[in-house]
Amino acid sequence: MSEILLIAPVLLPLLIAPLVVMLGSQRAGWLLAVLAALVATLASAALLPALGEGPRSYHFGNWPPPFGIEYVLDGLNTPLLLLTNASALLALIAATPATLAGRFAGREPVFYALFLLCLSGLSGILATGDAFNVFVFLEISSLCTYGLVAAGPRPGSALAAFQYLILGTLGGSFVLLGVGFWLQATGTLNMADLAQRLPQSEYGEVALAGSVLLLLGFALKSASFPLQQWLPAVYAAAPWPVTAFLAACATKVAIYAMVRLALDVAALGEAARWLFGLIALVGIVWGALAACVQRDLRRMLAWSSVSQLGYILFAFSLGTAAGVTAAMIQFFSHGAIKGGLFLALGPARSFDDLAGLREREPWRCAMLTLLTMGLLGVPLTAGFAAKWALLSAAAQAGHGIGLGVVIFSSLLAVVYCLRLLEPVWLRAPQRDAPQLPRHAMLLPPALATLAMFALGLTPWAASFGRPAAQALGWAP
């Protein structure tokens, strides 16, 4: 049983996806997709209790590694597996056929299949212990993302998807080249095996070039500074449940891959951490500044994501157990908050769309307000727990610049969060405000809001800090 659990989060959506298409019905397709995401979420939750017992691995076809493909679930990727699947679940609940509003002319099942394949790809990147497999899953998730983004309602959605495709393919090619270089240098693709052989490889330069290419590829996918330009366009163009899903977990998976490959497998150590710290800190400020001046609501939140993702990378760059704890909290905190915000915003795109929400939709207004508080880092929310952990970790590591940057960016967050709250609370309703989805659609953002408070009030996310640090070898 437990063997199946290890691969269920990856395989289940992968296998259900074609079924959804074959079924053909919109409603049944949606239900099946939700069900698949639910089971995958439960399966990844069931993996958590045994987190302290060290990494568990599954050998495909019973081929022992390094010959066969191996899945390794340890303290770093198991919690993220849950985050990814839970985000997909909430986004899928929101993405009813009614939400998609007939933009597919009867081909909605394809949308759900793409969604499930994308989820499977992201879970695969997290779970696999095989470098080439990472590339395969990256391509699966990316290709599906292009399709999902192109399904957006804006005239420019297809163009945005195409631009993303070009950049994404570039990133994917870097990853493929990197994996190829590593194979060339070591003769293996298994991560654990690579970790042993890379330092001893007689083709050190080739191995290093491979690492750099891999980093480049995933820096692009994770929208790390200065490769973040695609992110706002994609978030603005995609259908809103897709934006919520991507914002909650997609870039985080790429950050995981960066950390896993550079700090764990290639063990680049000091140099990579220095680089991570640099791009993270610049990205934190750049993203927050850009968020302050955006005219488009979703682009503002997207730039805020660039800033908030920088927190995660910066936390990892500290190279301490406290830093990893802060990163784990921020993974979940930002996932719940940003995902929840996009779910609560629904199809609203401009600040004008939010005018008078307090009168029109008090519940949505309440959730948006609370989630924005979380983004601000107001106490009792997950955002505060994350900021507290990050500030403590930076102070503990004696990283004064990092401390200053995080504080400065949270001041900028005040500016952009206020821009969101003002129309919601103080502006008079507009006459041609967009029709927001029915009240049933309030369930996903409500769950995200609850999750945000649960994360803020309990040490649940912080409890992953130690296993995750162990997985990276930074804690005994």
Binding site: P379, L391, A395, I407, L418, P459
Partner: protein, 489 residues
């Protein structure tokens, strides 16, 4: 029902009751009379609860939630918090009556939201008063900031939006940018967030420079204390309806600020540590400068509420000054200022609101001769002015007395000069207002009385009377405050 009520620990009520009231007003949308009656009832019960704590033994501390070892939400009652909490609790029902009268007389919109946010703000202020550790304090502090934002922006016009931006921007930026990092560093250095008699950081071994920086981060991070240059939010907040300016921006919010300053000085640093390392010397001069400069600004302002706002900034600096003098007498004076200034300044704001409601005048220069039409209002204004200036029979006289003693005690003769200069300025910007009202023009032969409605008049007469009563009845308050280590000798 009573069994259910008694399961709630007594310390939780002052936070829970206003919060529930706010929720009830939002969700049930009661009729105006029911709403204000309910608010008054909750306010009176709350005030009675606080007053009962002066008589009996303080209730036991309460641990609400533990995030991780060393970090928790907890409530506890100590003399300083008792003073601040009681002041806010006693003035809340009085302001409720005033607000009911004011909002109706000026036919303000969205009164439901107004009263809900008002109650929520009180809950935040009382959480600050009862906070048992730094984290809880910070929770209450941010809560209060956010809950008062809808009140500041109540009018929703361009001015209100701008005021709201400055208000939230200043208060959130200082708290997230300075106060939170200061708290994080304190907790890291001391290993705990609890308030400790004699000072949490006493044995921390921080250098004098580090202590100076940390103390400065706290003092400027507590934006609600409005120490220059982080004072701009307070004049901006005056776009709010007058009851808000009265209770929140003359009492609950700003007093929360100076209360936190005193609390941090006494329970986190400890006066002994600060005076040994001389960490507060620089900030003493910042507070002195703030005190005099704000008085000058008040003197130059013609808009009545602006003048009162700058006066508040100046008066708050007295408390920061007291915190930097670090001698027992000065700290006592600072603590008494929370009480004395609250009753004095709320009266002044009540008067400003009454004048606006009855005569629609907002500028000082328009008040000539108005005193004969509104003798009670202008009389109350004169009495409260005396208290703010620090002249008997106003309660403020004791504040000046103890501060002067404290500055002599600390050997800071220059500060004595600052106090004298500020008193002169206080006289110059406050007393002309009642004087203009009565004597700027000869008394007209026939005077028509045009006082504000009783709901506005009664509260301001009561608070004016109370600021005189406190002049004679401060004994028990001082006795209780002397129990604090560092304030008592």
């Amino acid at each position: 029902m009573s069994a259910l009520l008694s399961t709630v620990p007594p310390l939780l009520w002052p936070v829970l009751a206003p919060a529930l009231l706010a929720l009830l007003i939002i969700l049930a949308r009661p009729a105006p009379n029911v709403r204000e009656g309910l608010a008054l009832a909750v306010g009176l019960a709350n005030a009675a609860l606080w007053l009962s704590w002066w008589l009996g033994a303080p209730p036991p501390p309460l641990l609400l939630h533990e995030f991780q070892p060393g970090l928790s939400l907890s409530l506890s009652l100590e003399p300083l918090g008792l003073l601040f909490g009681t002041v806010a609790a006693v003035l809340w029902p009085i302001t409720t009556v005033y607000a009911a009268g004011y909002m109706r007389a000026n036919s303000e919109e969205r009164q439901n939201a107004f009263f809900a946010a008002f109650a929520a703000s009180i809950a935040g202020a009382q959480l600050i008063a009862l906070a048992g550790d730094l984290l809880t304090l910070f929770v209450g502090y941010e809560w209060l900031t956010l809950a008062t934002w809808p009140l500041v922006t109540h009018k929703r016009n361009a001015d209100a939006l701008r005021g709201g931006r400055i208000y939230l921007g200043f208060l959130l930026a200082t708290s997230l940018g300075l106060l939170l990092p200061a708290i994080v560093i304190t907790v890291m250095v001391a290993g705990s967030a609890d308030f400790v008699a004699g000072g949490l950081l006493r044995g921390s071994g921080l250098s004098a420079t580090a202590l100076t920086l940390l103390f400065a981060a706290y003092l400027f991070g507590i934006g609600k204390a409005a120490l220059m240059p982080v004072h701009r939010w307070l004049p901006a907040a005056m776009v709010a309806p007058t009851p808000v300016s009265a209770l929140l921006h003359a009492v609950a919010v700003v007093k929360a600020g100076v209360f936190v300053v005193l609390k941090i000085t006494i329970y986190v640093f400890g006066p002994e540590l600060l005076s040994r390392t001389n960490a507060a010397q620089l900030l003493l001069w910042v507070a002195s400068a703030s005190l005099v400069l704000a008085s000058v600004q008040a003197w130059r302002a013609d808009h009545l509420k602006q003048r009162l706002a700058y006066s508040t900034i100046s008066q708050l600096a007295y408390v920061s000054l007291a915190a930097c003098l670090l001698v027992p007498g000065a700290l006592l004076g600072g603590a008494l200022q929370i009480l004395a200034h609250a009753f004095g300044k709320i009266t002044l704001f009540f008067c400003a609101g009454a004048i606006y409601t009855a005569a629609h005048k907002q500028q000082v220069s328009q008040l000539d001769g108005l005193g004969w039409a509104m003798p009670f209002t202008f009389g109350a204004f004169a009495v409260a002015s005396l208290s703010i200036i620090g002249l008997p029979p106003g309660a403020g006289a004791w504040v000046k007395w103890y501060l002067a003693l404290g500055s002599i005690d600390a050997g800071q003769w220059a500060v004595l000069g600052v106090l004298a200069a500020s008193t002169m300025l206080n006289i110059a910007y406050l007393l002309p207002i009642p004087l203009r009202g009565f004597f700027a023009v000869p008394r007209p032969a026939s005077v028509t009385r045009a006082e504000a409605p009783w709901a506005l008049l009664a509260p301001l007469l009561l608070t004016a009377a109370l600021s005189v009563v406190w002049f004679f009845a401060l004994g028990p308050v001082i006795d209780r405050l002397l129990l604090i280590e560092g304030v008592g000798r």
